[in-house]
Amino acid sequence: MPADESAGINILGLTKRYLTPKGETFTAIKDVTLAVEPGQFCSIVGPTGCGKSTTLAQVSGLEKPSGGSVTVGGRPVNGITDGVSYMFQADALFPWKSVLRNVMMGPLLLGTPKREATALAMDWIRRVGLAGFEDRYPHQLSGGMRKRVAMATALINKPRILLMDEPFGALDAQTKVIMQNELLKLWEELRPSVLFITHDLDEAVALSDRVVIMTSSPGAVKDIFDVDLPRPRGNVQEIRHEQRFLDIQGRIWESLKDEVTRAYARSAGAAA
């Protein structure tokens, strides 16, 4: 499926300040500039608290930037951006709705008739490999299965932009690999532009076309790397041992290393 031309994200000089409860201003991100081409898979990697999530919130339109601009498909973001889906580390599912009703929510909110929404949801539940679990409630599912439901709810509306905030951060190593493969498979079918936040550099390199390194306090872009590993990538578990992968990963790690050490020293200092 070719990428939707209106799915390009352009972030220009983006700055976001928050008012703390004490009345002080806190700059979460400063002068962030980066571009995601239509249909590109872009990861943001950086130490904790470097404003990665803040950046996503500005792209979705859930928050308004304090300075700079975000344009999606050439149009400046003002209010909720159309055709965006979110995936969080926490599942963000309705605990009181069954799997089917959770997945149906997206089309229903767009005004799709119930019968069509049900059919669509059944199809997506099958695509994420949960056929037969339609009537379960989220608490009856394992972490990986809940992730699959979250993936179906995020993709069912065929978003042009997929914002993922450490979606697999809480999963065990094996489940994580399985979910990464699932995500790549579905992404190649739909080709939304993806902004993917992660702490895991291996994950970023294995999945992405572009990796953005951010520095902390205030968050800013340090380096941008293009990952030219061929697509489709195949099994992310196997690609990790290829020499090309290791070369790219090594280069990016050089850049990330300083940031992580610095952020760690700061947090250790604060704790002492």
């Binding site: 909720i80 951006t81 963000a92 309705f94 009181w96 929510m105 909110l109 409630y137 608490h139």
Partner: protein, 278 residues
């Protein structure tokens, strides 16, 4: 040991546990009520002040067969239940609406917060006197007092429930295109529901207390009136008999609220309702 035997042993162990619990329960009941009967019969405790189980039973029989000075017991019970139910519904409805409103708006909650804490700290039961002076001896002031007591319980729970809503879930439905009204009906209210329903158990008890106290303060009919009359004639047995009747009504209401809870909250993991088993 083969698996079948293990299963049977497990079942037997569970049966023994259940039996032991019931033996304990019955023994405790016999001990308390029997002890009461015995102590008052021997004269160690004065039954003139503290009543006696057998006399309470006689009072109950009298209430249901001969009626009271204010008409049959059913008539009076119905008046009290009507008042409590009215106050329960009114207080719950207002509590939910105000709780969700203030819970969703930081500004409103900051403005109203201190006043709500002040009103919450005054002894609201005294408002009954004012309501009776203002609205007379009819059912309305009773409903009002019951509603005031219920309101605060439901309000605080609804408020807290709204505050505990998963912010990621809200962000999720907002980017999917939900309007503020849809966010409220699809996310905020259903997720506050488990808090609200938990408060209904206590709230009904308070509705009964409100109706009874208002009746004691001044009424023409109702269980509270019978209690206050019995107090005036030094008849503790009738007071206890009324307590028994009200306890049965409250247990009945509790049962229906639990049914509602099961229906509305059937999605919840079972471990949480286990904690509320008592």
């Amino acid at each position: 040991m083969p698996a079948v035997d293990l299963q049977a042993a497990g079942k037997r162990q569970k049966r023994q546990r259940t039996t032991a619990v019931w033996v304990g329960r019955i023994a405790l009941g016999v001990l308390v009520i029997g002890g009461w009967q015995w102590f008052t019969a021997e004269g160690w405790v004065d039954k003139f002040f503290f009543g006696q189980p057998s006399e309470i039973w006689n009072s109950l029989v009298k209430l249901f067969t001969k009626g009271t000075a204010f008409g049959s017991i059913w008539e009076n019970l119905w008046v009290t239940v009507k008042e409590a139910l009215g106050g329960f519904l009114l207080g719950t409805a207002v509590g939910i609406v105000v709780g969700i409103l203030l819970g969703s708006s930081r500004y409103l909650s900051a403005v109203f917060g201190p006043y709500i804490r002040i009103v919450n700290s005054i002894p609201r039961i005294i408002l009954g006197s004012i309501f009776i002076v203002a609205f007379g001896l009819g059912t309305f002031p009773k409903i009002l007092l019951a509603a005031v007591l219920v309101f605060f319980i439901v309000f605080f729970n609804a408020f807290q429930g709204v505050r505990e809503v998963d912010q990621n879930l809200i962000a999720n439905v907002r980017v999917l295109g939900a309007s503020p009204v849809q966010v409220a009906t699809q996310v905020t209210i259903p997720s506050a529901m488990s808090w609200i329903i938990a408060s209904l158990h206590t709230a009904f008890g308070f509705a009964i207390v409100g109706a009874l106290v208002a009746e004691v303060l001044g009424a023409q009919k109702g269980i509270g009136l019978i209690i206050s009359e019995a107090q005036g004639t030094f008849d503790p047995n009738t007071v206890f008999a009324c307590m028994v009747i009200i306890a049965i009504v409250t247990l009945g209401a509790e049962f229906f609220i639990s049914l509602l809870e099961h229906r509305v909250l059937k999605w919840r993991p079972p471990s949480r309702s286990e904690a509320q088993a008592i």
